[in-house]
C-alpha cells in the first residue's frame, strides 16, 4: 500500500538560499507524524515545499503514489493536500462562513459544504455565533479555529499543519492540538510541525526532527525504537 505522503531527496529554498536539504520522509495512511525543530530550522519551508509554495524545490513528492512535482499550489490542493499555514492566511474582509466555505472550493466538496460546515461547528462551537462576522474581527484563538476549520472543509488526503499552537495562550494551544489529533483521518495522513515537544508528546504516532534544514533521524525515520535518543515512535497511537 502506498503511503499518504512520500518525500524523497527534497531540497527547497528561496532564490540563492537553500533552506531544506535533501529530506526524505513518509507519512503512512492514517498516521500522524510530528515534525519537531527550532525556529528557523526549516519546518515551515518543508511543509510549504510539499505544496510548491517556495521559491524553488527539487526532489520527489508523492501523494498516495502520484507525484506532486510540477503541480502548482492550487493543483496540489485540489488533489487533497490541505495546508494549515502559520499565520493562518485567512480572508479578513470575508465572513467566517465564507472563510470556511472557501476550504470546500474544490469541486468535490463544494456541494457538501453545508454538511462539512456543520461538522466544523461541532468541533469549534464557538464559531457558530460568529458565522456572519468578518474574520478580521476575530480574536487570535478564533482565527486559528477558522484556519483549522477551513482546512477541515476540504475532503483532504493529507493535512500539513504548521505550528498550530503559535501565538495562543497555553491552555488554548493544548486544546487546539488535542482537537487536531482527535480528527478522523480516513486513510489520509497528517504532518504537524511544532517546536514545543511537550504539546505533542503522547498524542503522535512518530516524531521527526529537523535541524538546519536536515532530518536528523536519518533518511527514513519509520523504524525508530520507542524511547531512543530521538524520542521517535515513543508514543502510543491515538
Amino acid at each position: 500500500m502506498t503511503a499518504a505522503l512520500e518525500v524523497r531527496g527534497l531540497s527547497a529554498g528561496y532564490g540563492p538560499m537553500q533552506v531544506v536539504h535533501d529530506v526524505s520522509l513518509t507519512v503512512g495512511r492514517g498516521e500522524r507524524v510530528g515534525l519537531l525543530g527550532l525556529n528557523g530550522h526549516g519546518k515551515t519551508t518543508l511543509l510549504r515545499a510539499i505544496v510548491n509554495l517556495v521559491g524553488w524545490r527539487v526532489g520527489q513528492v508523492e501523494l498516495h503514489g502520484r507525484t506532486l512535482m510540477g503541480l502548482a499550489t492550487h493543483a496540489a490542493a485540489s488533489r487533497g493536500v490541505v495546508l494549515i499555514p502559520q499565520g493562518d492566511a485567512l480572508f479578513p474582509g470575508l465572513t467566517v462562513r465564507d472563510n470556511l466555505d472557501s476550504g470546500a472550493y474544490g469541486s468535490r466538496s463544494w456541494h457538501r459544504r453545508g454538511q462539512r460546515r456543520d461538522r466544523v461547528l461541532d468541533i469549534f462551537p464557538q464559531l457558530a455565533s460568529r458565522l456572519d462576522q468578518p474574520a478580521g474581527t476575530l480574536s487570535g484563538g478564533e482565527r486559528r479555529m477558522v484556519s483549522i476549520g477551513r482546512g477541515l472543509m476540504a475532503e483532504g488526503d493529507l493535512y500539513l499543519v504548521d505550528e498550530p499552537s503559535v501565538g495562543l495562550a497555553p491552555i488554548l494551544a493544548v486544546s487546539m492540538i488535542q482537537t487536531l489529533f482527535s480528527l478522523e483521518l480516513d486513510g489520509g495522513g497528517m504532518l504537524l510541525a511544532e517546536q514545543n515537544r511537550a504539546l505533542i508528546d503522547g498524542q503522535i504516532d512518530r516524531v521527526l526532527h529537523l535541524h538546519g534544514g536536515r532530518l536528523t533521524d536519518g533518511p527514513e525515520a519509520a523504524d525508530g525504537k520507542p524511547g531512543d535518543a530521538g524520542g521517535r515512535g515513543a508514543t502510543v497511537r491515538a
Binding site: V51, L53, A72, T73, H74, A75, A77, S78, L83, P85, A89, L90, F91, P92, G93, L94, D98, D101, S102, G103, Y105, G106, S107, W110, P134, A135, G136, T137, R150, A154
Partner: protein, 289 residues
C-alpha cells in the same frame, strides 16, 4: 431633483466601469489600462450591430455586452496570461495595456473614421415627471438597467462558487492558492465579466454621448478614481464611491460649470484618501488587513 437623476445616471454607469477595474486590480494585482478601449470597442460593436444586423434594443445591448466580454477575454489571453508570473509583470502589463489603449483608439479611428457614431435609442424618447422634474426615458432606463445588472452581479459574487473564488482572490492570494483556487482560470472570468460590464456601460452612456475613437478615456480615468475611492475589491465601496463621484460631478457641472468637473473630482479623491487611505471599502467592510 434633476441633479439627483443625473447623479444616479452617472453613478450607474461609473459603477459598471469601476467594478471591473476594481476586481481586476484587487483580485489579480493587474491594473488594466485597456479597460477604456474595451469600453470603446464595445460601443463600436453595438453601433456596428445596429447598422448591419438589427436596431432592436435587446440585440444592440447584448452586442455591446458580448463585444466587451470578448475584448476583456482577449486582454486576458493576450496580455495577462503570457506575462503573469514573469519578472516585473506588474509594470509590463501596465505598459502593454497602456499601449493597447493608445493603439486601440488609433485603430478604431482608422477603421471607422473620426466622426462620432450614434447608437439607436434603447429606451424610446418618452419622459415622465417626478414633481416638476422631467426625467427622460434614456436616463431612467440606464439607471434601472444598471441596478438590475449590478444586483445580479452582487448575488453571483455572494452566492456562487466562482464568486467566492473571486472575493477570496481580492483578499489573500496565498490563501487562495492553499484552498485550491486557480488564479489564472479565474482571471479569465474576471476580465470577461469586467469587459461585459464595461460594454453595457458603453451602450448606456452612448444614449447621451456618441461613440468615438477616444470615448473610453474619460470613463477609464473616472473608473480608476471610483475604484480607488471605493477601496480596491470592495463592491459596496465601489458603488458608494460611484454615487459620491457622480454627485460631485453633477453638482459641479450645475453650479460651477462643466470645465471644473475633473478638478473637483481630483480634490474629492485627495480628501477622501487623506482621511481613508484604503478608500471607502474599509468603512463598509469593518475589517480588512
Amino acid at each position: 431633483m434633476s441633479i439627483l437623476v443625473s447623479t444616479l445616471n452617472l453613478a450607474a454607469i461609473y459603477s459598471l466601469v469601476a467594478i471591473g477595474i476594481s476586481l481586476t486590480w484587487a483580485g489579480l494585482g493587474f491594473l488594466n489600462l485597456a479597460h477604456g478601449v474595451i469600453f470603446t470597442v464595445a460601443g463600436y460593436g453595438a453601433w456596428w450591430t445596429a447598422e448591419h444586423i438589427s436596431t432592436s434594443p435587446w440585440i444592440v445591448v447584448l452586442a455591446g455586452i458580448a463585444v466587451g466580454a470578448a475584448a476583456g477575454a482577449a486582454v486576458c489571453l493576450g496580455v495577462y496570461l503570457p506575462l503573469d508570473g514573469r519578472r516585473n509583470w506588474e509594470i509590463r502589463t501596465l505598459t502593454a495595456t497602456l499601449a493597447i489603449s493608445f493603439l486601440g483608439a488609433n485603430v478604431l479611428q482608422e477603421a471607422f473614421g473620426p466622426e462620432p457614431k450614434q447608437l439607436p435609442s434603447l429606451f424610446g424618447s418618452g419622459q415622465f415627471k417626478i414633481g416638476d422634474t422631467v426625467v427622460t426615458a434614456d436616463k431612467s432606463g440606464a439607471i434601472v438597467t444598471a441596478v438590475v445588472v449590478l444586483a445580479i452581479l452582487v448575488v453571483g459574487l455572494l452566492r456562487s462558487r466562482v464568486g467566492l473564488g473571486i472575493r477570496v482572490l481580492t483578499q489573500n492570494a496565498e490563501g487562495a492558492a492553499i484552498v485550491g483556487i486557480n488564479r489564472r482560470r479565474l482571471a479569465f472570468a474576471i476580465l470577461a465579466v469586467s469587459g461585459a460590464l464595461a460594454g453595457l456601460a458603453s451602450v448606456l452612456l452612448a444614449q447621451v454621448f456618441y461613440v468615438s475613437p477616444d470615448s473610453g478615456y474619460v470613463p477609464l480615468v473616472t473608473g480608476l478614481i471610483v475604484a480607488l475611492l471605493g477601496g480596491l475589491g470592495s463592491i459596496p465601496g465601489t458603488i458608494a464611491a460611484a454615487v459620491l463621484v457622480a454627485a460631485v460631478e453633477a453638482l459641479t457641472a450645475t453650479y460651477l460649470g462643466g470645465q471644473y468637473v475633473l478638478m473637483t473630482m481630483f480634490l474629492l479623491i485627495a480628501v477622501v484618501l487623506l482621511i481613508r487611505p484604503r478608500g471607502l471599502g474599509g468603512l463598509l467592510e469593518s475589517a480588512r488587513a
